[in-house]
Subunit: 372 residues, 2 copies
C-alpha cells in the first residue's frame, strides 16, 4: 500500500485497527453488563460513529452542539452533550429536542438548573458529578445536587434524566490497578448520588461514567447504566503511555513528506508542523516522552526506532534521531507517518480521514465535523 497520491499533510485512519479497538471496548463494556454510549468528540465522523454504535444500543456522546446537529442530521436520535453548556445555547438544545432528538444536557449549578427550568423549551438533564477530576461537576456530597434535582423535578418542561461523571483524573494514573481503583471511585460517585435521588423519590434512569482509561480497566460497574469512552477508537501515544492501548493499536496517523535535510545537525524536516500535528505535549508527563509524535514508515505504519518530531513550527516539523540519520533512506519527497500524542487535538486540524482498508484497495474518504 502506498500513499504517494495523497497530498500531505493528511490524516490516515487504519480501518482494521479502528474496528479492532471498537470491538475490544464494545465486548468489554458488554461483559460488564453496561451500555456503551461512544463519545464522538474524537472521531467526529458519522462513518466512525456507525462502527462505534454497531452492537450497542445506538446512543452516542458528543462534546459540542455542532456535533449534536451533525449526528442528528444522519439520524442518530439519542445524544448526550457531555459538557456544561452556555445558557445562551439552551434555544439550540431545545430545537434539537423539538426535532425529535433525545438530547441530554449537563447541569452542575442551581442557577443553571433554574435557567433550564425557566426556559421555554423542553430539556432532559443529567446532573454532572465530580468524582475527583475537579473540573466541572458537583462533589457527591454537595447539597446543591438535591437543589438541582428538586428544581428540575418541579419544572414543567424539564426532566431529570440522571447523573453523569467523567474520571478525567485517570489520565494521571500509570498502572492498571490504579486505573481500576479510579474506575471504582468513578462508579461509586454516581451510583451513590443515584441512590440518594431514588431515596428522595426521584427517578434517575441514566447513571453514566466516562473516560477511556477507566472504561478499559473497569472490573465492576454495578449500578452504572452506561459508559462513555471516546479516544479508545483511535488510541494515541498518551493512551499507549498510560496503558489504555498499545502503540500498535493506534489507528490514526499524519501522513507527511520529507521536505528538507540538515545533515550537519542530523535532522530533517517534514511538511507537518504545529497546525498538522497540534502543539499537544501530553506525553511530556510520561516516562516515554514522544515530543510532538513518533515517526513511522509510511507504508507499513511501523515506528522507526529513535525518530521523533522534536520541534514544530507552523508548517514545519523537525525530525530528530537518537542515532545518525540515514538520509538516503528518507530522500526529499519520501513520505512518513507520525503517530499523535493526543489524537483529539491532532484530528481537529483536518476536515477528512483517508481511510486505509486492505493493501492495494482504493482509500475511502470520511468527512469530519469540526468547530462549534
Amino acid at each position: 500500500m502506498t500513499y504517494s497520491h495523497i497530498p500531505t499533510p493528511a490524516l490516515i485512519l487504519d480501518k482494521a485497527k479502528l474496528i479492532a479497538n471498537i470491538s475490544r471496548m464494545t465486548n468489554h463494556i458488554k461483559a460488564l453488563g453496561v451500555d456503551l454510549r461512544p463519545h464522538m468528540k474524537t472521531g467526529k465522523s458519522m462513518e466512525v460513529a456507525r462502527l462505534a454504535m454497531a452492537g450497542n444500543f445506538g446512543g452516542i456522546t458528543v462534546s459540542t452542539l455542532r456535533e449534536a446537529d451533525y449526528f442528528a442530521a444522519f439520524g442518530v436520535t439519542d445524544i448526550t452533550l457531555a459538557a456544561c453548556l452556555a445558557p445562551a445555547k439552551l434555544d439550540r438544545a431545545a430545537a434539537l429536542r423539538a426535532a425529535g432528538i433525545d438530547l441530554k444536557i449537563l447541569v452542575d449549578h442551581p442557577r443553571m438548573a433554574q435557567a433550564v427550568a425557566a426556559h421555554a423549551g423542553e430539556h432532559h438533564v443529567l446532573i454532572e458529578i465530580d468524582c475527583g477530576e475537579h473540573r466541572t461537576g458537583l462533589l457527591p456530597a454537595a447539597p446543591e445536587i438535591m437543589d438541582i434535582a428538586r428544581c428540575l423535578d418541579a419544572a414543567p418542561r424539564a426532566t431529570l434524566a440522571g447523573v453523569l461523571t467523567h474520571a478525567g483524573h485517570s489520565y494521571q494514573s500509570r498502572q492498571a490497578p490504579e486505573m481500576t481503583a479510579v474506575a471504582e471511585t468513578e462508579r461509586d460517585a454516581v451510583v451513590g448520588v443515584a441512590r440518594q435521588l431514588h431515596d428522595a423519590g426521584m427517578a434517575c434512569p441514566i447513571v453514566s461514567v466516562g473516560s477511556t482509561p477507566t472504561a478499559t480497566h473497569a472490573r465492576d460497574l454495578t449500578g452504572v447504566s452506561e459508559a462513555r469512552p471516546g479516544v479508545y477508537m483511535f488510541g494515541d501515544l498518551f493512551q499507549a503511555g498510560i496503558g489504555s492501548c498499545t502503540v500498535d493499536d493506534i489507528a490514526v496517523s499524519v501522513l507527511a513528506t520529507v521536505i528538507a535535510h540538515r545533515r550537519q545537525e542530523n535532522v530533517m524536516f517534514i511538511d507537518a508542523g504545529g497546525l498538522a500535528l497540534s502543539k499537544d505535549r501530553s506525553t511530556q508527563a510520561l516516562a516515554n516522552d514522544c515530543a510532538y509524535g513518533l515517526v513511522c514508515q509510511a507504508d507499513s505504519g511501523q515506528p522507526i526506532a529513535g525518530l521523533t518530531v522534536s520541534t514544530v513550527h507552523q508548517e514545519h516539523g523537525q525530525i530528530s534521531a537518537t542515532t545518525a540519520l540515514d538520509f538516503d533512506r528518507y530522500p526529499i519527497g519520501s513520505q512518513l507517518r507520525i503517530l499523535p500524542n493526543h489524537v483529539c487535538m491532532t484530528a481537529a486540524a483536518y476536515t477528512e480521514y483517508h481511510v486505509t482498508t486492505a493493501p492495494g484497495q482504493a482509500l475511502e474518504i470520511w468527512p469530519r465535523c469540526n468547530g462549534w
Copy 2:
C-alpha cells in the same frame, strides 16, 4: 458593544487594532525603502489581505498551496509560497503559474532544484537561505547555493527569481537591540548571497527577509527588496512578550462563556479549551508566562489583572486567579475574551472572524481559509 448574540467560542477581530498594526508596519517598511509582502499565514483571509496590501505593491506571502489557491481566486497575482514544498506538489504549483499567477516557490536542496528543472511546468524559484534559525535553508556559504542557481539558470522552464530567508531565531531574542542585530544578520545573509549570484552573472531580483520581530526592529535593509512579516497584523502574547507589540495592540481574541464555578478551588471554567485556544505554550519561555492565555473583559477587551486560562481540556478552559475570584462578577453565562499565546495556532481552529467595528455597529463576518 456586547457580544451576547455570538455563540461561543468565537474568534473576535478588532478592526481598528488590525488597521493600526498594519499601518505601523507598512509605514516602517516603506521608510526603510523596501517592499512589504505581507505573510497571510496568520490572517488566511482575503479581507485581512486587502487591508495588509493597501499602500503596498500587491504581492503577498503564503505558507500553503491552499492559501495560494484561495488568494489567487480573489485576484491576487503575486504570491510567494515561503515554505519548501513536497516535490509531488510541483504540478499544483505549476497549475497556478499556468493560470497567470506569479507564484514563487522555495528550494534549498540541489535534488529539489533538479526536480524543478525537470518538471513539465514552469516555476519561478527562490533559494532559501538559513540566516541562523537552522530550520530549512542553506547557510550563506554553502556550495549547494551555486549548484542550485546554475541548475535553475540552465533549465528551460525554471527561473531563478531570487533568495529568501526567515530569521525565526529572532523569537529567542528579548530586547530590541538584539532584534535589530538579528535583523542585520538576516539582511546580510541574503544580500551576501544575492551579490554572489550577481557576480556569477545571474539575476537575483528578489532579496526577501521575514519575521515580525526583525521587520519591527530593522533599522537598515539596504540591499533587501522585500520584507515578509505576518503576525504583526494581529499580534499575540508571545509577540507582546518579546516586544514586537504591546498587549493592547493584540487584535484577535477568543470570545468564551463562563460555564462553571468552583468556589472552593478559586477557579471557574469557560467553554473554550484546547481546541478553541490551541495548546500553544510559547509564553512559557518568557518572563511573563501567560499559561493558555490572558483573560479580558468581553466588552472592552481590557485584561483582568491576575486572571489566566491555567489549564485546558478539549472543550473546557480553567481560569485561575492570583487573588480571590469575585464569582458574582463572572456569573455562569457571562462572557469573557481570551488573548492568545500564538495567534497563528489559535485562529486556525476557526472558519471565520467576527470583526468588531465601531461600538453599536453590526459585526462583520470574514471567512478564513484553513487546511492544505
